[in-house]
């Protein structure tokens, strides 16, 4: 299968490791990965902040980059960005009165999958250790990000994949389904409430005794990891794609604040 990677802007610029891990996983399964070079961002920061006019060129750019016959399915390591591509792009086009864009956006949206969705529903991965060689001998807790959970209805897909990683010890996160407080520009506009939410999430994570917290959205993990780092915690955050990509031969280390540290290495 020819799979187009939508890296998402934050992973592209801040967490390239996550995209490289995604490529690695897909190639291990024998698929070909392509990177449509015109891609940039899904535009949800603009949409969610009410800047529809500014969102339109961003959405149009994404649709242009992915409206090709050059691939079978598209994938992104983010529930939030995939939800935006699937649901928001048509809304933006409609609101701005661009019917042609709306129709093309629907086609692109239908071909785009979140990583765990693609692995589970399309590529039939049920055993990460067996099929991907995933090995990650660490104590890990998992935060299900809101948009993956509530807009894409990912359910336990990410968690189930993680559970089959060799050597992993998964511990349950209390109040896992509570929002971490990121919310895009919410974290700036309502910084106090956002911080209060993050602090509760961080406390729950630390309470599990896990070495790190994983999840499927780099933005939420940056928020949580940034808070943990500020609190001086040793617990870090790491995208689940990197855990799946980790093998016995080439392990990802989990020491320290991984997601923060990840960018610096």
């Amino acid at each position: 299968m020819r799979i187009a990677l939508f890296a998402t802007c934050i992973v592209d610029a801040m967490y390239p490791r996550t995209a490289r891990a995604t490529v690695s996983i897909l190639e291990r399964l024998g698929h070909e990965v392509v990177f449509p070079p015109g891609q940039a961002c899904c535009g949800q920061m603009h949409v969610n902040s009410g800047y529809f006019a500014e969102a339109l060129p961003v959405v149009a750019n994404h649709v242009k980059a992915f409206d090709t016959d050059d691939y079978d399915v598209a994938v992104a390591p983010s529930g939030s960005c995939v939800a935006s591509v699937k649901h928001q792009h048509q809304l933006v086009a409609r609101r701005c009165g661009d019917g042609a864009l709306e129709a093309r956006a629907a086609v692109v949206g239908a071909r785009t999958y979140e990583l765990s969705q693609l692995l589970t529903d399309v590529l039939g991965v049920t055993d990460a250790a067996g099929q991907l060689g995933s090995h990650f001998p660490h104590k890990v807790t998992y935060h299900p990000s809101c948009h993956g959970m509530r807009l894409l209805h990912l359910g336990d897909r990410q968690l189930n994949l993680l559970a089959t990683v060799g050597g992993i010890e998964l511990v349950e996160l209390p109040e896992a389904d509570a929002c971490c407080g990121f919310g895009g520009t919410f974290s700036l506009k309502n910084a106090d409430v956002s911080s209060a939410m993050m602090e509760d999430k961080a406390a729950n994570i630390c309470g599990t005794g896990a070495e790190l917290c994983t999840g499927g959205d780099a933005s939420c993990l940056m928020h949580i990891g940034g808070g943990l780092s500020r609190q001086g915690s040793e617990v870090g955050t790491l995208h689940f794609a990197e855990i799946l990509a980790s093998t016995l031969e080439n392990p990802v280390t989990a020491a320290g604040n991984v997601q923060l540290a990840g960018a610096r290495r």
């Binding site: 610029a13 990965v33 940039a40 902040s49 969102a55 993050m198 780092s229 990802v252 960018a263």
Partner: protein
């Protein structure tokens, strides 16, 4: 009115009354967040109710079918509202009730006052009602020399404490049992100083306090949960029996109901009386539901009135993207699950309607430009918990985003100096609307890395970014973006054969 020559009133006509925030939400939230007792009380109460709701909802095999039906019935109601209101009016009137129409809060208050004056009474008992809260009826009546006694336990607590409600179902949710005990001791006559703080004792104290009033009341004021157009029937859903007392003992009953509370038919109620109790108090059914149609000879009040209230509802209805907010049945599930409400409480929203529904309904009813209501649509992380919980499937996050758009457009129209957010959005629009531009920007990543210093962590950002670094660090950017790495690995974009990104590449990022 000057515009009647058009034959149609100029829309929208916005609502007035207790619908406005008086300060921006972030400011109010900052203050409320500092109240540790409030946060503890809210945390305890919202977690209690969440668990209860989930349990009783999970019991029903057809919960989602019911939500689908409820949502469709409400959409159908709004689409046919004029005809349904007329049908309701004809049925209610035929059975001895009287209907009044109120364009806004002021008019509704005047109607209620005149009706009370006609009875010669100066005291009325009230059963909890959001509509009368919204129009500020109690305060208005007080100014007219009429005292209104709240009889719902939580409303009574709030009234005795000279406080404001902070929740639509449990207005005293921000108070814990000890605080309630203190209020009773301070404000009620003849309370035994040995009164404990067990909820059962407190409820009993309220019973004693109100019993004489109920048994002698001549006039009651209520709201209504539902009005059934095909029969002219009104419904009040409650727990304590104070509603039954108000609806059956007095001679005169004045009900104030928003025009959106209708359901087309009696049989539609079968859906809503399953959705509402499980969503609101997390019970299979609430203890008492009263239904009345006009008057019944020999049973209950014989002087029965209904005030149908607009007060900005038509303005909300005129907003095609926002009108489903009127489908709300005031169950409060959205606020009970909201992580923002849980931490700020209801007072931070200013309006009678707090929480996620308030954040959309208040600005829809008053207009986005009214006072500080333009900050309300931003009072959400868009986590979507409210939409999941809403029994009538109101897509609150989508309406929040729509209203943010309205706010941005209305400010844009004023053509002032662009705000920091405006500039951020403009800049991001440029960068994100072509891969080549983002690539150009990403060439600056090493500079950011340098700026982060040896610790490779940024602890303070300038400008609006400082809101981020008030509580979170930000990692130093990587030395190259993914797209730069890809181009190097593959030569020209997509030109390389598959398989070149072997396992080894990931470890490069993974090892210190």
């Amino acid at each position: 009115m000057s515009n009647t020559f058009l034959g149609m009133p100029t829309l929208p006509v916005f609502g007035r009354g207790n619908l406005n925030a008086t300060e921006p939400f972030p400011q109010a939230a900052h203050r409320e967040l500092g109240n540790a007792q409030l946060r503890a009380n809210l945390g305890h109460a919202t977690h209690t109710i969440r668990d209860k709701r989930l349990k009783v909802v999970a019991e029903l095999p057809d919960w989602e079918d019911m939500r689908d039906a409820g949502s469709a019935i409400k959409n159908a109601t709004m689409a046919q509202l004029p005809a349904l209101l007329e049908q309701f009016e004809a049925n209610f009137t035929a059975r001895g009730g009287t209907i009044h129409w109120a364009r806004d809060a002021q008019e509704a208050n005047e109607i209620a006052t005149a009706l009370i004056r006609e009875t010669g009474e100066t005291e009325v008992v009230k059963v909890k009602s959001m509509a009368t809260q919204e129009i500020g009826l109690n305060e208005y009546l007080e100014g007219q020399g009429i005292s209104a006694l709240e009889t719902d336990l939580a409303e009574l607590i709030v009234q005795l404490d000279h406080d404001k409600p902070s929740h639509i179902l449990v207005p005293a949710i921000h108070k814990n049992r000890s605080q309630i005990r203190e209020i009773f001791l301070r404000e009620m006559e003849d309370v035994d100083p040995a009164l404990g703080n067990e909820p059962a004792r407190l409820a009993e104290t309220a019973r004693r306090h109100l019993r004489k009033k109920f048994l002698s009341a001549k006039v009651a004021v209520s709201g209504a949960n539902f009005g059934l157009a095909d029969t002219g029937t009104l419904a009040v859903v409650e727990s304590e029996g104070n509603g039954r007392m108000c609806l059956t003992l007095p001679e005169t009953l004045i009900t104030v109901m928003g025009i959106e509370k209708l359901l087309p038919s009696w049989s539609d109620l079968e859906v809503f009386m399953q959705l509402l109790p499980r969503s609101s108090t997390g019970e299979r059914m609430n203890p008492y539901t009263s239904l009345w149609t006009g008057t019944t000879p020999g049973d209950g009040p014989q002087n029965v009135h209904l005030v149908l209230l607009d007060n900005g509802r038509t303005a909300a209805l005129a907003d095609e993207m926002g009108r489903t907010a009127l489908n709300c049945i005031r169950c409060s599930a959205c606020m009970n699950v909201c992580p923002v409400y849980e931490r700020t409480g209801g007072h931070a929203y200013g309006s009678t309607y707090p929480g996620p529904i308030g954040a959309i309904l208040s600005p829809l009813m008053t207009g986005i430009k009214s006072e500080e209501n333009n900050s309300l649509p931003y009072a959400s992380s868009l986590c979507g918990a409210c939409f999941d919980a809403c029994p009538v499937k109101i897509n609150i996050p989508e309406i929040l985003v729509h209203l943010r758009g309205e706010d941005v457009d209305s400010k844009r129209a004023k053509a002032k100096v662009p705000t920091q957010t405006d500039l951020l959005m403009k800049g991001a629009e440029w960068a994100f609307s072509a891969g080549s531009r983002l690539n150009l920007l990403e060439k600056g990543l090493p500079a950011g890395r340098l700026a982060a210093g040896r610790a490779k962590v940024i602890k303070k950002l300038p400008g609006i970014g400082g809101k981020w670094t008030q509580s979170r660090d930000i990692p130093a950017p990587p030395s190259q973006s993914f797209r730069q790495w890809w181009a190097k690995e593959h030569g020209a974009p997509n030109a390389a054969a598959p398989g070149t990104t072997g396992e080894g590449t990931i470890s490069e990022g993974g090892r210190p």
